[in-house]
Symmetry: D2
Subunit: 472 residues, 4 copies
């Protein structure tokens, strides 16, 4: 399959404690989080004495069979995970939630993010006799916890979390409790909700909508929540807090109906489009958005600029795996099968196309070409985020195979490359104004600015780290 | 899988003659026609002396393996088909194109539509010694042609077509020619195009866009075109002509970028939305469309009414097969997993929701409920087509399991059933005005009015006919 | 998979009328007939008003799913088929029983054998308007029957059978009767049995053993039996009779416990071994048989000659599909994985190896080499059948890819080729003496002598005929 | 599937160092060891810097795809494993060889046997911070080795092995060496061979035959062999030695052509049959063996007693998975599909049936019944081993679901239960005489006598231990 998206989120999480339909709800919630990871999925449930699990490769509907789901039905506490994997490590053994068995009790573990000192910890643990099961950086949590000393499990979890650096949202299942933790920068989203009196957590609120749960609030950076039959315990694993939520969650990853601090991504994207309109001084007949993720920004742009919005590009909803011949011609055909211009809307008009980001430039180039072939007089490209220039160390896979076009090229060079008549990016400042307006306590913008909020101790990209830990 | 659509198109066709990448192009074209049929797909290609074929069940990407496609690569002439099948007859033997072998030459056959005297013909043929391979009404064509007398193959094809009543678009492959025919009412669409000097035909122009072909023109009712290495031959199989294209093609089935007589479905749907706005005298804060097929109508409604449009409903793009528990609760969950409201857009507002049609009312009911749960003050439903009341005999499957809600209920009763604050349908007259404005020569409106342009000789619905011919 | 057998039977049949577990029994019976065909299997059952069927590719356990079997459980009348297919035509559409639907009643058809005027009939039928579904010669029966005139179905079946030449055992299912017919030369075996008062038929009696049925008798050449709820009707479709049962059934195909006229194949093979001992004047320390099919002949040889028998060759019972690299080395490895010498039995001894036949010589060559490598002083090859020299037109596939070694080489040349110290075949006369002793009324020996009892009207081998009828 | 065998071996091993076709040879060798385990298979190969592996569930041909094999082709050092798993733990994660990754070097591990202090070690390791990946007792080796101190890897391996109690044959792969070890009782077989100058090891010599390798010798109890590019190093991990090879390997598990100290299992089984004949004072017309594993004993019995041997029972070579209805009737049908009497051999005769063992008695009961139904006058059962009475702690799975019939019943009671006219077991003394005659240095007979040579420290059967370590 041609993956035309250039950025890949690394996971979606869900957990629910004490609901008679826990596994079915987890399945539905994961289904709504599918956009956060399509290469593997799993569920781990607590049966009281032991944990039980099912995992598989591919989309949720491929990964878990009905038989597997049936086997988990008796249990009222469960956590789930959908995973995006870099190609090299797409092994079943890396699919989460992990399930660690022990005579002192089992551990289920679901992680979203990237731990930037995982390799250092791993090597130290191996030198101390530990054997790792996976190439995932998430596994260090389990080993540290196993070896942690402390008067209570919560104390040992705190000790463990304090040793980790990086971006992490954890949902942890023991036979008798579900523990939820967010790193002290709050890079990845994690939400608390409730259904029929049962607490649940999810990477995005769209999971709550899918199961009919009520959204309670976003987790705070550094927060540690324990949910058990005794109720909910709110705590922190650290006093430090430096809010730096990933800006790309707003711009690109989250589903448009997911809310952050009560505002939908749709609304934020519309606002980003409005800001872009203030910066982009271009006359045109119509504004069109690249479906689906940029339609909101295009709407905001149209509202602000007064230029009518139209659906000038359509997305084929049957994408899935397609056969691919090799070569450039084949690649172009693949894009053509995915996005089509509406000729009579486009023909003879000057057009502003709004996209949420440009990674490699391949799709933008096709869009410009296709619109011009369909008769567009002019094609101006507006991007509702700043130029993407730097890799992410906190859980986003920026493909190393394809260059990030803006990391080496100026805006004018990018414009020339994609063939647009003009190209305008949103400024970093305006972007932050939008976030602040909607209540953000601080956003990571490292991929735009290079200002990394957390030191990358291991000094490696996720995919490089992967190569260091495996040979399979 | 919960199929939430209430209407199902029965096929998409493609054919190309004399292009070195014929089978690959056919595959891509079928991919773009996938919305016309998801239960089976196939390709038949001419190798000069024999025809070769590959068929399978499910979506195109499941139905045909790369190995099968490779085996067809040497051939420069091929036809393809995607199929929707009623549940009873979803056997591989019914997947098209059919491939009939004979010592006098092979026949490949792809059909879209429904032949309303097929059962009568079939019984007469069986009484005369014929053995049918399938439960499909399309097969009568092959038997009639096999037995037809006449000085030339074209003469025999004309004789055969003259015996058929109903709706049919045929793409027929012999070793040395591709023949394309449209019934004399022109109920189903069929388009002529060209790529690199090779003629091609398709049910919709989006297939041409997908492969980079140029659209030439729509076929006329009664037209018979023969394409061979000697070039193209334009003819008719009958002098009679009574244009009655299916209105639902515009409203519901065709992809928004597909064009009819040079106008995109998007534009026509927008116009239907504009007309609806003239009829629907309702005040509201925002207009939202049900994605994806009703976004154009909502845009037209917004433009005409001046009420701002928003994306207040989102569609989960990972649908596919999901596990389904039984019962009403499970069914509601399935809809919830597919469509979600954007809360902060909806909350506290009175809303007009535009949908292109209401079949069973299930989805409409969910939408109203979901929007109100998300805080909508009022929900007014606007339908950009007249009330759907009657079954179709010409190739559309209206499920018999679920009632067509408007066939037995008044508009007020439907409104009450779905819980909307008001419900307005487009009038038949305004609908026809739109079609006429965009060059239609005549549209079938039987499903709205009961005025059937072609007598249903067999006197059965397609699914009933199916039951008469099979026991498998 | 390397198929090391050089000859392939083309089918196994079963049918049972009026037993509450008909489909389960048919499945078990087919399982016991699996040696007669491994490339496809199917069952057709009568539900009273319609016939219902399930078919698939591969071994029985792969071909039919539990779900399919469950769907046939309600029915008390069913027929089944296992099929060997030449590589070219291994399509699902050729897997039997065929199921032909018609408004005048359905037809299930299972055939073992080869109709030598099928191509002529097929062409005549095609010229008269018939359309064939398969490349199988069995299908002509259905078309002829459909067109046959006559006062009763039995009369029409007789008329149809009289038009066929060649080898055929048919088990035919209509909603209200099961009809069983054997060609007037009786080339293929067909047995009548009974279980719990229900009549059943099978290609071999081992199917009766498998289900616990009683064997009644062999069908006679030309016999036509009709079984219905009214009981059993014994008749003939022709007065002509010329018994010519395939000799290879005794020598090679039938399971050792299957009986013909009350004598097991095991006993007949032992007798063939005894006769071979009388002709083979060789001194040796031990006699070993090639497992499994030649163990009986080796036993007979040992008894007659007084030379002790041993199991000096073992067969790996896990054969199945193995990965195969190409080339001669790979082929040798494949044989080595299938047959192994027992070194300490073989070492230092002169050995007589008994095999039932030599087709291409590949296996014999390996056996001699392997035994010598294991330390055998001398290896003498005794074959319990005459030299195989001629192709079969009556339902046995002699691969055209590999030469039949004895058709072009003398016995001395074959001996040299396989590397044995001596090579002795059984004479045609002694072979016939054995058959006569055990009550045979006449055996076809065409593959040894070239005396074909039935003219091959089409003039083609089965695999050539296949090529004439298909391009898939 | 009905597993009619009552005993299950727990593994087959192979390893080869320094052959250009290592993985292909490993695949072929595992194929020949398939009888030792059918529920999972895997190969791990050394690429110099890392180890690479492929594993899967089921028979070898299902477990490993051609693609997986291709991926291992570049490597010249590899080890392989076929596994039998008790039903509870048949998870992919338990399929061997295990592959443990570490920054200090990878470890591949293949084990046959059962470690009787594994649970104790495991708990101690967990309490010290270890996390286990599997429920297999083999994994303790990896953890102990990881934590072992010592000047060299060999020293650390010795230290590790010295901590283990029980039956174990290990084949261990590091990037730069293959290490082979046998427990100091030598319970499980392990053989050293050579092909084209490359050393190889296997559970049985039949693996050498399959790949054309030369058999060098059996490993001695306590032996530790290291094979690397520097050649072979023979050593011991302990001075203690108490030879107690599993008697069931001779009687039941090993392939008949596999050799122990230069004698084939076939020859030993024949000798066991001869001894049985001396003890069994029964007159009969013929002797028949239960195929395949008891044919050799029947041959020995016939030679010694002078009673003619015949093949009176046949085994259906298409077994595989069959659909099974529940209940006793269905179970009987399953046996009937597997073993069939040859009626005309059996009828009217008094018969001695030789079987190698009786576990639950189900098959014996069917055999007696089937032979009598086929007309046998008398059926006397001779068993070429002593009564099986006790569970095995060293790697043989004696099903707990079915009772071992002789553990609670006297020989006369067993005879009555299976319906035989007489029942004779071989005595323990005569059994040992045979083993001594063929050079055995000592055999474990605990399953017959209850004299366990190694204390079962964990105090559990393998399947009970499994339940202690897992909840999946």
């Amino acid at each position: 399959m041609y993956e035309l998206r250039g950025l890949n989120e690394e996971c979606g999480l869900f957990g629910i404690w004490g609901h008679p339909e826990a596994s079915e709800l987890t399945y539905m919630a994961l289904h709504s989080l599918q956009h956060r990871g399509q290469e593997g999925a799993g569920i781990v449930a607590s049966g009281g004495d032991y944990l039980f699990g099912a995992r598989g490769m591919g989309l949720l509907t491929e990964a878990l069979s009905q038989t597997q789901l049936e086997s988990l039905k008796p249990f009222s506490k469960s956590i789930g995970h959908v995973r995006y994997a870099t190609s090299g490590s797409s092994a079943l053994s890396n699919v989460q939630p992990f399930l660690f068995k022990s005579h002192t009790g089992d551990l289920g573990l679901a992680h979203n993010g990237n731990i930037v000192n995982a390799l250092q910890i791993r090597r130290a643990l191996e030198d101390d006799g530990a054997i790792f099961q996976t190439t995932s950086d998430s596994e260090v949590f389990a080993h540290l916890l196993r070896r942690a000393k402390g008067p209570s499990r919560k104390a040992r979890i705190k000790t463990t979390l304090q040793q980790l650096k990086g971006a992490f949202a954890f949902v942890i299942l023991h036979e008798d409790a579900m523990t939820v933790a967010l790193d002290d920068h709050g890079v990845r989203p994690l939400m608390l909700g409730m259904l029929d009196g049962a607490y649940c957590v999810a990477s995005e609120t769209c999971a709550f909508t899918a199961i009919g749960a009520e959204y309670i609030r976003d987790l705070e950076p550094g927060e540690l929540i324990t949910i058990s039959d005794d109720g909910i315990d709110f705590d922190r694993y650290t006093d430090f807090e430096n809010p730096n939520m990933c800006s790309m969650e707003y711009i690109y990853f989250a589903r448009a109906d997911s809310e952050f601090r009560g505002t939908s991504t749709y609304t934020i994207r519309k606002a980003l489009g409005e800001e872009l309109a203030k910066e982009m001084d271009v006359k045109a007949d119509i504004v069109i958005g690249v479906p689906d993720s940029s339609l909101a920004a295009a709407k905001g742009f149209s509202d602000e600029s007064g230029i009518p919005g139209e659906q000038g590009l359509l997305k084929n909803r049957y994408v899935g795996r397609t056969f691919i011949a090799s070569g450039q011609e084949a690649r172009e055909r693949a894009v053509r099968m995915k996005l089509s211009p509406v000729r009579d809307i486009v023909e003879g008009r000057s057009i502003i196309v709004i996209d949420d980001s440009i990674v490699r430039g391949t799709t933008s180039k096709y869009i410009v070409k296709a619109l011009k072939k369909a008769g567009a007089k002019e094609v101006h490209m507006g991007v509702s985020s700043p130029p993407l220039k730097n890799p992410c160390y906190y859980g986003i896979d920026v493909s190393t195979h394809a260059e990030i076009i803006a990391s080496s090229k100026s805006t004018e060079e990018v414009r020339a490359e994609i063939g647009a008549d003009s190209l305008t990016y949103l400024s970093v400042e305006r972007m932050h104004q939008v976030y602040e307006k909607y209540g953000s306590r601080g956003q990571c913008d490292a991929c735009f600015t290079g200002n990394y909020p957390i030191e990358n101790t291991d000094g490696l990209l996720p995919q490089e780290k992967d190569a260091k830990t495996k040979g399979v």
